[in-house]
Every structure is written in structure tokens, then in C-alpha cells.
Amino acid sequence: MNPLIEMSGCSFAYEPGKTVLERVSARLAPGELLGIVGPNGCGKSTLLRLLAGVLRPISGHVRIADKEAASLSQLQRARTVGFLPQTVNPIFAMRVLDAVCLGRFPHVGAFGTLSPHDRAVADRCLTETETESLRDRDFLSLSGGERQRVLLASVLAQEPRALLLDEPTSSLDVHHQIEIFALLRDLRSAERGIAVVTHDINLAGRFCDRIVLLGQSARGVVAEGSPVDVLTEPLLSKAYGAQIRVCQHPLTGTPLITVDAPAESKR
């Protein structure tokens, strides 16, 4: 199956001379939940933004649905790729339903007039994320977990084939984190692929079909493959530059990662 997004030999730097990613290749296929993991500052978010097409690589190519990303207009791209950044801070009070309808932007005309079809899509996205009961609430009054689900619904309302999420669980309780990942697992389909950046390797190992592991000093991908192949002690230790221990989760059987703490200092 052709990948939804294919990135080959891409380099990127926010400032000249400070390369974040160097000749990195990655892809997202339909039907998969892809986890992008790695230490802080290794370029996970940058990789996701390149895949999303909101950043342009300095060199290399990104192809979105078999078309060169640079040749697509921003609206064309947004109809194929949905991107949820890590920080979303709304400044206006807004009804949840209206916030979800904002996701229809790439499909509606300049004046943002919604057709019955657009409203139906928004309703369906609320159902998919189990947020129907919130539809008339004010977005700003929602809890962190509820917000994240509604934001997910608003990005789904773009009807993207590729869904890219940056740390969707970073500020959530344990059970809300699991709920979001379980939801993402359900949302991937034969047409839809999902990529998620997370610093929680355990969650990624438990829910993702494939893992891309980035390294601090590697400026790119250390390893890529199924969770059991990638989440191993040598590969993780190389990526994080620390002694990482991996065992098997007693309940789920998936890789469970932990790090030896430094010896207690005697003061």
C-alpha cells in the first residue's frame, strides 16, 4: 500500500548551523498507529511538523498522498493531513460544537458558511470521540481530558487521511492518557493513518503498531519498526544516552521501560 506521507532525506534547522534533523526518512501508512518517541529536544515535534507540511525541509522531499508537499496549497494539504500541535490555547470563549466546526475550514469557502453536510461531519466527529454530551458547553470550561477529545474531534472534522498529533496526552491523568491512546487505536482505519509524538514510551509500546525512535546525538532516526523490535535496552540506551531497562509488562505483555535512578547522594 502506498504511504500517506513519505519523507525522504529531509534536513531541518530552525537557525542556520543548528541542524535538528539530518537526512531523515520516515513514512506513515494507512491503517497504522505510528509512535514517534525519543528524548527531549531530539526533534520529535519537528519531525511531526515536517510530516504535517507546516514546516518545509531545508533539503529532501516530503510527499503527501503521492504528491510533492511543496506543490500543494495550504488548503489542499489541510484536506489530507490533520495536525494537532502540543499547545493549543484558545483566547475566545466558544461553544464546543462551534470549535469542532472550525475544523471544517479547509472544506468551506472564504466566508466559512457551513452546509448541512459540514454540520453532519462535525456531529459524527463528536460521536467518534465520545464528546456529544459536551456539544453545548463552553470549550474553556472543559477539563484537560475533555479539551483534548474535543480538539481531536475538531481535527477529525477536517476529514484527514493522515492524523498527526503532538503530545496529545502530556497534561493528562493516567486513565485519560490510556483513554486517548485507546481512542486513537480505534480511529485508525483502512484509509486513515495516525502518527503520534509522545514522551511516554510505555504507552507507545502498548498501543502503537510501529515506532520511530529518534536519538539526541543522532539528529535523526535511531531505529524504526514494531514496538518489540525497537523498544530494546541497547537501542533505547543509545537514543537516550542513559542506561535504560526493559522488562515485560506483567498485565499487557508489552515492553515496560524504566531507568535506574542515580545512587542516593549522601549529604
Binding site: E15, A52, V54, S73, Q74, L75, Q76, R77, A78, R79, V81, G82, F83, L84, P85, T87, V88, N89, P90, I91, F92, A93, M94, D98, A99, L102, G103, F105, P106, V108, A110, F111, G112, L140, V155, Q158
Partner: protein, 340 residues
Amino acid sequence: MKSRVMITAASVVVCLLLILASIAIGTESIDLRAAFDQWRTGATKGNASELNIIVNLRLPRTLLALLAGGGLALAGCAFQALLRNPLATPYTLGIDSFAALGAYMATVFGAGTAMNLAGFSLVQVAAFLFAAFDVLIIYAMATRARRMSPLVLLLAGVTLGLLANSGILFLRYLAKPEQLINMDRWLMGGVDLIGYEPVLTLLIGVTPCAIILLMQASRYDQLGFGEELAAGRGVDVRRLQVTTFLVCSIMTGVIVSKVGPIGFVGLVVPHAVRTITGSRHRVLMPMSMVAGGAFLCLCDIIARKAMTGETPIGIITSIVGAPFFLYLLVRRRFADWDNA
């Protein structure tokens, strides 16, 4: 939802009544019915004083207030959405102060120059150019390769405004006493211009700018959730910035050069309207225009009636606007903007 539509409709009616009142009320109170009879019977201008005052004095003045107030409120609305900050207005970005600096310079250094460039005097041309210069500096900062946060841009605007104010003080120090009177009067703003020429200038300057800004409404909605999410949804954020800065500076420059710096309209009106219409810009922006125009009409009525003779309108907008804004702050907490 229904009640919101009703309140919006009621507000529009109130605005229309205010516009009508600004035609009827003035130094001379006018019997609108008498004027209407004169118009209907086709009385000649010589013996139709009511009609004469309305057509030649009141109507252009009201139209001027409508266009200036509407334009300033719309520019405030656009800047608040673009910079994601409740304090962003043409005034706080220093546009008015720079226009005033330009006007003062023209008065001090260009004294006696009788210039008329397409209906603009030297003072007005200088005001426009300085307003444009201010926006150009902020815009240059906004489009540097390394992105600057909206808050930094706003601070830059405030700093430029303070700089311009020092420049004004320096010019006052240099100016002759008789120039000071004219300069100070200009600084207080006024829509007491006579005839249709300034109305036409504003109509030509404001209309296309307003249309362009109104067409960005759905993009400003997207910015409400952050620049990155908006970019992901296909909003060309950079282009929206360019458009907004360019169009707002032209519009504000034209307005300020004709009627002087009028503060508070761009700040108060969008916030007040937002409490009624909600934050969808498709409704908020046109409503802000109507309300901004009506607000300036109201201030102009007060300016005409408050004392014998006229009070400068810039003073009235602040006296009316500031307490009202404080009331909004206390009532509505502005919690929405906390995490901006």
C-alpha cells in the same frame, strides 16, 4: 442562541437610532418632521433652514463619525485577533501617536506651506505617512526570519507610541505659542469637518480596507485557537499578518489624518460587541463596525451638547469609553484571554 440573535438585532436598532439622533441633535435642535416636509415639498434651499442644516452640516458629520468609528473598531477587532491580545488596537500599537507626531512636525516645520494633495493638507499627509511608518517598523519586526511573539510586537508598538509622545513634547517645546493651540486642538480629534470632501476621502479609504478585512473573518476565527493549529488547518498565517498590518495601517492612517487621534473606539467597541455576538468574526466584525460608528455618533452628540460650544470628541471617547471598559473588566473578568 435565539436570545443572542434577538440581542444582536436590538443592538442594531439602538445603533440606527443613535445615528438618527446624531442628525437631529446639535447646537440647534432640529425638527426632523419639518425637514422631511421641506424635502417632500421640494422647498428651495434658501428658505428651508432645517433641511439645509441637515444636508450640509449634520449629515456629512454623522457619516464621518460612522466611517471613522466603524473603521477604528474594525481595525481594533482585526489586531486583537491577529496578535491574540485584548489590548491590541491601532492606538496601543502607536499608530495614533505617530500620526500626531507627523501632524506636529508639519505644523512646526512646514508652517505657512499651503499644500493640497488630493484633498489632504500638509498636516494630514504627514500624519498618514508617520502612521504608515510606525506600522512598517512593527511589520518589519513581525516578518523577521526568527518569529517574534505577538506580545513582543505589541510591546514594540507601545514603545514606539511612547517614543512618538516624547517627540511631540519636544516639538511643543520648539513650537511658537500660536502654533500650540492648533496642534493641541488636532490632538483631541474631531469630526467637526464641513462638507462632503472628508466624507468622500474616508469612504474611498475605508470601504476597500473594510471589505478585505471582513473577508478574513474565518481566518481570524482559526487564529483564536493558536497560530500552529490555524497553520495546520491551511491558514496562511504569514499572509494574514501581512494583509492585516497593511490594510489596517492604511485604513487607520486615512482616518486619523482626517479626524485626528481618537482613542478607545478600537479597544472598547470590539470587547463590548463580543459580549453580545460571541467571538465568531463573521458576526463580530460587521457588528463592531456598526457599533463603532454608532459609538462615535453618540460621543459626537455629547461633544456638541455637553458645553456651550463644542468639546473635542477625543476627550469624550475617553471619558465615556474608559469607565465603560473598566465596567467590562470587572463584569466579565476576561478569563478567556488569560492564556493568550
